[in-house]
Amino acid sequence: MNAAPAATGPHLLEVDNVSKYFGNVIAVREISAYLNGGEVLCILGDNGAGKSTLIKILSGVHQPDSGRLLVDGEDAHFTSPRDSRARGISTVYQDLAMVPLMSIWRNFFLGVEPTKGIPPFRRFDVRLAKRTVREQLLGIGIDIRDPDQPVGTLSGGERQAVAVARAVHFGARVLILDEPTSALGVKAAGVVLRSVVQARDRGVGVVFITHNPHHAYPVGDRFVILNRGQSLGSYAKGEIDLDELIRLMAGGEELTELQQELQTMAPPAGSER
């Protein structure tokens, strides 16, 4: 089902025939996909397609009921998000990554604060934190005006980009982005897509979950399309064009039918109000 591997040797991250059930509901069924460093794997699907379940398996929130999860070609069993983080897999959630009332530099280092001094006078190295934040954000093309600014005053795209920069800075080898652009306007989505490309160019493997093929196609190297918990196929960039991607994603024939239906409903040309 997969396209031919782009790199030799074990893949950075791979799922092999994973399934996950919630009671008698099949959330994902026999999904296979892989990711190498410096690549962007896009996972596309409509609401309820199983995207969230799949990333929760990748990030250790859920354990697959069957199938294998491999990191660097070895079986991996994550029992919590902490386990996956320890293997360099970092998940950027849509709204849960930042505390809006806290400044950018406090958010950036939250949970991994750099310290200096000896106990009991060990303290947060504030100067280092502020300098690092400014450098890292400039590195992904964001010129923040003031690292003391509360994150709540950043635009949605800037906030996502800060989260991406944070994950990359802390040595993420795999970055899982959960619908990073879905709530954003065009400009803000652009800020995020740019940061995805920057992360990829640093050798990070990016799993980009979205229901927007227009956002996925320009940055993706490979595309896995989910529908109702099953994979509709995995395509390398050269094997599929944007229109086909859109058609597959919306469930193929369903969209064609919808188009025809809408066309018959459309008023004749010239009568537009």
């Binding site: 849960l96 505390v99 949970g111 010129d143 005006r145 600014q149 509360p150 709530a183």
Partner: protein, 350 residues
């Protein structure tokens, strides 16, 4: 990639920059409003005269402020972490009474009694914190329960052990003299500043340093600002909050010890109702009731405002009851100001 780049002209400079800059500066100083208020209140009573601004007068209102300020700092940290402790006031009484009973009825030396009382404070904080975190109930309701439990124990227990409504003659205990020199002496004769004023300043300095310059301080902000986000990035949310409950109740024990040694007797009703003053001081000092934002120094300035008003109103020859009106007005003003800040900082620009 090419498509994405096409859609993205370089970001123009934000025309709202000037406005953001002003707000950002205000935002960085949650204690600013309180500072302005403190200066205004001081000036008011200074003009009213009667020696409010004299050294003797200052000894008076710094003492009143210190009693609130010692507690306002941990209460503020707890509030920034998104929790309340309504039992903080009555804990002062419980601790004072416990100290009195230990030295009077068990004939303990004051020093080991102090250690036991501080341990009692830690345990009570642990209980409050563990209850709140394990039940996931609002701390408001959990600590309201411990408040009433302690109030019952204070009143009933004092009656049972002493047959009266107070524990007295604490100064006859062994070790009283040396303990008093640390916790309850006066300084700079003949003006007689209370030594707890220095405790207050010290606790404020430690609280401010912890909040602004340590890892733990960063965690305090985060667990109050968004506990889910904090947990997701690896902040030990439960531990952080429980430690803050413990800091609050242990500080209440410290204040109870100071009060008992200073007054040499403790009323069974000591401290009841004071929790609201601590919370008012923290809110006036810029802490958001909903957590995530605030300042330890601000809480101390809030305590200073209340202390100055409590002493300044009778100094000016006004009826003492106007203090309540004053407290209500400054609380309302502070809440409105804080709400505006929160509204501005928390809204998302998409």
């Amino acid at each position: 990639m090419a498509k994405a780049a096409e859609a993205l002209p370089p970001r123009p400079r934000d025309e709202r920059l000037a406005q953001t800059g002003l707000f950002a500066r205000l935002f960085k100083l949650p204690e600013l409003g309180a500072l302005v208020g403190a200066v205004a209140v001081f000036c008011l009573f200074w003009i009213e005269g009667n020696g409010f601004a004299s050294i003797d007068g200052s000894a008076n209102w710094t003492d009143s402020a210190s009693e609130l300020g010692i507690m306002a700092v941990p209460v503020a940290l707890l509030m920034i972490a998104g929790e309340f402790d309504l039992s903080a006031g009555v804990m002062v009484g419980s601790s004072g009474l416990l100290l009195g009973l230990l030295v009077k009825h068990l004939d303990l030396n004051v020093w080991p009694a102090i250690v036991l009382v501080l341990l009692f404070g830690m345990v009570m904080g642990l209980i409050n914190g563990a209850l709140v975190m394990s039940t996931r109930l609002p701390s408001f309701i959990v600590t309201l329960a411990t408040f009433f439990i302690l109030q019952g124990v204070n009143l009933g227990g004092t009656e049972t052990f002493t047959g009266s409504v107070l524990v007295s003659d604490i100064d006859s205990a062994k070790g009283y003299g040396s303990a008093k020199r640390i916790f309850a002496t006066t300084w700079w004769s003949p003006h007689d500043f209370q030594v707890r004023v220095f405790w207050w300043l010290g606790i404020t300095a430690v609280g401010a340093w912890v909040l602004m310059r340590t890892r733990f301080g960063n965690w305090i902000y985060s667990v109050g600002g968004d506990a889910v986000a904090a947990r997701n990035v690896g902040v030990p949310v439960v531990r952080t909050k429980i430690l803050l409950f413990m800091a609050t109740s242990t500080t209440a024990s410290l204040l109870g010890i100071m009060t008992a040694l200073l007054l040499r007797s403790v009323q069974a009703g000591e401290g009841i109702g004071r929790e609201f003053y601590f919370i008012i001081a923290a809110v006036v000092g810029g802490c958001l009731l909903t957590g995530g934002y605030g300042s330890a120094i601000g809480a101390s300035i809030g305590a200073l405002i209340i202390g100055m008003a409590t002493i300044g109103i009778p100094f000016a020859g006004w009826d003492q009851n106007w203090v309540f009106l004053f407290l209500g007005v400054i609380l309302l003003a502070a809440v409105l100001l804080n709400a505006a800040i929160r509204h501005w900082a928390a809204r998302a620009r998409l």
